[in-house]
Amino acid sequence: MEELNSLFHGFSVILTPMNILLMFVGIILGVLIGVLPGLGGANGVAILLPLTFTMTPVSAIIMLSCIYWGALFGGAITSILFNIPGEPWSVATTFDGYPMAQNGQAGAALTAAFTSSFIGAFVAVVMITFLAPLVARFALKFGPPEFFAVYLLTFCSFVGMGKGSPFKILASMAIGFALAAVGMDTVTGQLRLTFGIPDLMRGFDFLIAVIGLFGIGEILLSMEEGLAFNGKSGKINAKVVLETWKRLPKYWMTSIRSSLIGIWMGITPGGATPASFMSYGLAKKMSKDGAKFGTGKIEGVIAPETAAHAAGTSALLPMLALGIPGSPTAAVLLGGLLIWGLQPGPLLFVEQKDFVWGLIASMYLGNLVGLIVVLTTVPLFASILRIPFSIIAPVIVVICAIGAYTVHNAMLDIWFMMGFGVVGYLFKKLDYPLAPLVLALVLGDKAEDSFRQAMLVSQGEVSIMWSNPLVGGITALALILLLWPLISRVLAKIRPPKKTKFAAEQPVD
């Protein structure tokens, strides 16, 4: 039970009054971000990252991860009360959450959503506690070819598992890689693709891209729809909470199934959004009264929320153990590690025990704090959405500008952010997925480094990617996923596939 000892050590690291305070601040800021249109987990953490530059890494990661948990909780509030998903992963929650609110069961729906979010996250954290050290220990044996194979697998699985045109996924990913290549070449020190412009020497920071793509892009989209919020009031009192909690154990099967779907989709870079849809779809198919889904069944709230939170949490496992983030938000947290001077990857578990186990312990506590905060303060956050959009929109643009500026104290970055905003708006409207772009921008240099190191080792023989069963297996799996759109087309010709009902409703993340 070495893990349990480490975990208790982690608790002893984080249980200081300052850290607990930061936890509450993080959760409240996170829920705020989750409720506001235009700010989400990824760009919210990106904007607030500079605030943590002066903190110790442990305090910083506690605050940032709590912002993330808060954002995950916050998305449910707007979907249930206003039928507006604050986050893409809470779209599926609107299907049954909003009808419940219309039937006067807003309190029950919110309690169910928050509680199942907590359960999903809890199961995922338990999984991380025991699995992450194992994965890290295993990954310590990895050399450059193995790491490149894992990078390859990450990116190929976007193509294989993504919805929508594979060309668009590839384009989005390649744009990320191209932008990552701009600036100083890490191996030879040459300047690349700067076209003689000195300001481009720094390259494109992915934080700027995240703030622009998700923040400004989202504001432009919301503006186009001409948002007018008219929501149900959400009152939660202790009686409603207890009554709902009494009803929840009946749906234990849904919870377990949704947690497992979430964990799987979170570790592989499927992400929280497809996880929530998949879990909703399965719950609908397997439930006794699946036909009544969409009219306000509590199960239809439990399933997507559990899965989304489980996925959002387990996306941190590959980030911690391998240094490869499973979601844009995990990517931003990884960027934070680099800024605080920590090298993400398997060595983190050996060299930075306080940090890793502090983070894992804070996941347990942060989600508990989050559950308490959201259950007690829902009416407050719901009232934020009643603030007219013409106040919220300029304030969010200002927050984005400040966030972009503070990354490098560079004015040019604010312009880039606006540029990324327009790109984000166009890409969202044309169904280009944004997650591959962000991950490629973060991992571009590392993926290239590991490729070049592998090639140096092998004297330029690509066959090193099949030199042992491990690296060969990962590479082969990656290539299968990359070619999956073609393979599935061939399979469909041989025998017609079963129609999935939810395919049409699934947005690209």
Binding site: T54, S165, A178, Q190, M223, G226, V397, Y405, I414
Partner: protein, 173 residues
């Protein structure tokens, strides 16, 4: 969402989605070409010690060109070409009413700094687009900016850009 459906019942005029799709795809091809050109200049082949600086970007450029061409083909000649209107004039007006002031705001920041520019931006946005009373708008803008000032400069000690106009410089901020 309701407002969207309302605008859908009226006659929507504007550019069809597949045209925008094709333009974006074309831009991706151009970007790919630029990357190809740049990485060839760096040396995209193998050097004596493995792949050169331009090797990896070269293939990224190739992928960009291929995927751009694929999307372009699907947009123009695909079976289910999307002929829906991309944005109608009403929507475009709303988007530009946020985008253009934001660009002006970024331009102004260069001269008078983040805090002052933000105050002006929020106040003017509320007065002109939100039709709020002047006193309410100015007060809201001031409260937001003062809150940010305390959050960044005082509590978390992250200095922001202040431009040529720094009324609080005598306090050491």
């Amino acid at each position: 969402m309701e407002p969207n459906q309302q605008s859908g019942t009226e006659l929507r005029t504007g550019v069809a989605t597949y045209v925008i799709e094709a333009i974006v795809a074309f831009c991706i091809i151009i970007m790919g070409a630029v990357v190809l050109q740049g990485s060839r200049a760096l040396g995209s082949g193998w050097t004596s010690d493995g792949p050169g600086s331009g090797y990896f970007p070269f293939y990224i450029g190739v992928i960009l060109c291929i995927s751009g061409a694929g999307t372009l083909y699907q947009a123009l000649f695909g079976k289910n070409r999307n002929t829906e209107v991309f944005v109608d004039s009403e929507q475009l007006k709303r988007v530009l009413s946020v985008l253009l002031p934001a660009l002006v705001y970024v331009l102004i920041i260069q001269f008078i700094g983040l805090y002052v520019a933000s105050a002006f931006y929020i106040a003017l946005f509320m007065i002109i687009l939100g039709k709020f009373s002047r006193i309410k708008s100015v007060l809201t803008a001031l409260i937001v900016v003062v809150l940010f000032f305390f959050m960044f400069e005082v509590w978390f000690k992250v200095p922001l850009f202040k431009g040529y106009f720094d009324p609080l410089s005598f306090l050491g901020y």
